[in-house]
Symmetry: C2
Subunit: 252 residues, 2 copies
Amino acid sequence: MKRDRIEEIAELLDKRGKLTLEQLDDYFPHVSQMTLRRDLFQLEQEGRIIRVRGGAMSVKEVQKVSGEPYTKKTAIHTDEKIKIAQKAARLIDENTSLFIDGGTTAMYLAKELPDLNVHIFTNGLAVAIELAQKKNVNLTVLGGQVLKENLSTASPVAKSYFDNTNFELAIISASAFTLSNGFSCGSQVEADLLKLTRKKARAMYMMLDSSKIGKIMPYTFARLEDIDVLITDDNFPADLKEKFTSRNIVIM
Amino acid sequence: MKRDRIEEIAELLDKRGKLTLEQLDDYFPHVSQMTLRRDLFQLEQEGRIIRVRGGAMSVKEVQKVSGEPYTKKTAIHTDEKIKIAQKAARLIDENTSLFIDGGTTAMYLAKELPDLNVHIFTNGLAVAIELAQKKNVNLTVLGGQVLKENLSTASPVAKSYFDNTNFELAIISASAFTLSNGFSCGSQVEADLLKLTRKKARAMYMMLDSSKIGKIMPYTFARLEDIDVLITDDNFPADLKEKFTSRNIVIM
DNA sequence: ATTTCCTTGCGAAAATTTTTTTCACAATAT
DNA sequence: ATATTGTGAAAAAAATTTTCGCAAGGAAAT
């Protein structure tokens, strides 16, 4: 029905922030652009979105922080990251406790996550703001020096948070991966934090879009064998897949 | 010059919320629509406005509209808060170290703050994201449980951050103030954190818009005599002013 | 000091894109 | 049976972007 579609559009816009008509058309191939246009018009009337040239944006999105360098970064490989985030979101069970890192993929995960009763630890500011919207999510932010490139925090003091806390699962992402150098990132303290996370968590899920493969960043924080599940996209090379599966790592 | 005109457009948009190109053309008859278009484009790049078909609207305007528990709160008394934040921003010197709290007024302060070489500690997520935009600001976020109403963190562990750090100045705000109950807020841990801040900081500046006066919240974290400077708006009652000035508290 | 070159800001018109309007038709409700 | 609602296609109307050209101001070179 019409209302369903409109609600779906609204939801989509809240998640994605901004969509062009063409993107919407991809999501709703069975209706015409004209219909989508009219839906957008109605949502605008309801004050939930703002129509901009070419499409529309969510009011919520605008309310978030504006104009930052960070959002620019989120623009690349968006679709893959969202797909990966959706896969990851399905793996999270109610009444668990988990760690999510501060990367952009993690932010999409935060958006996609249903409003479950879970306890989440994160070192990502953007992740935290997304999760703070969910009523049932209990949320703890690890403090520390803020890394401006990815809006995440890292600090040796974060250890003290971990002393008295536990979590079953850590879902993290890496900036780079090669077989010989493992999973790496660009900051020393971040790497330390992630290593520590590896120790605390019973299981570790890695979100890695295929564009990261073959790249190397300065600080390795995990090796292939450290992870339990790899969540990636369809472009992940088949030969590499084998290396993971032969070590009993599940690929999703 | 160009920059002047752009600023004027931004100001105009903040005041009027939304303007069409024709309206803008009326305001600036000496330049072409094309030029105004380009100005709007630039302002959009800066994240200060959103271009919509026919013209543009101020981001601030959009923020006032709707939704979230948090953003709703930012909508009220916006103008006063911004003015107070502007006053506070002028009081911050380069090469200092300071604490800013996590309230909405603090977020406006973060927005208004020039890109100075300072070190800032904050327990506010929205504050942190704003500050992360500034290249020269060195930023540390205090971690902890996230309070969803105001997107700030609070945790006993935050103490450990303070152990090895120093700051001269704390600029904070309160949810409520009365003479007999002092400055109060709605969360125990937050109150604890602010008390601790009071001890660490050499000086304490309080941002308080006059709507907070006469209200009482559960947890008092400071009394009148604990603060050094009060930053408020024009509606601050004269009789109360006297109580502050008689204790050598500067009112701005 | 003058000239040259480059950058920046601006406007006009063309080209493009998006949006709105209009009309028609089918499905559903009254 | 007659309205009403939702929809799509195509035409019409804007609005926006692009392209080109020009002029003013500064910097660098002569």
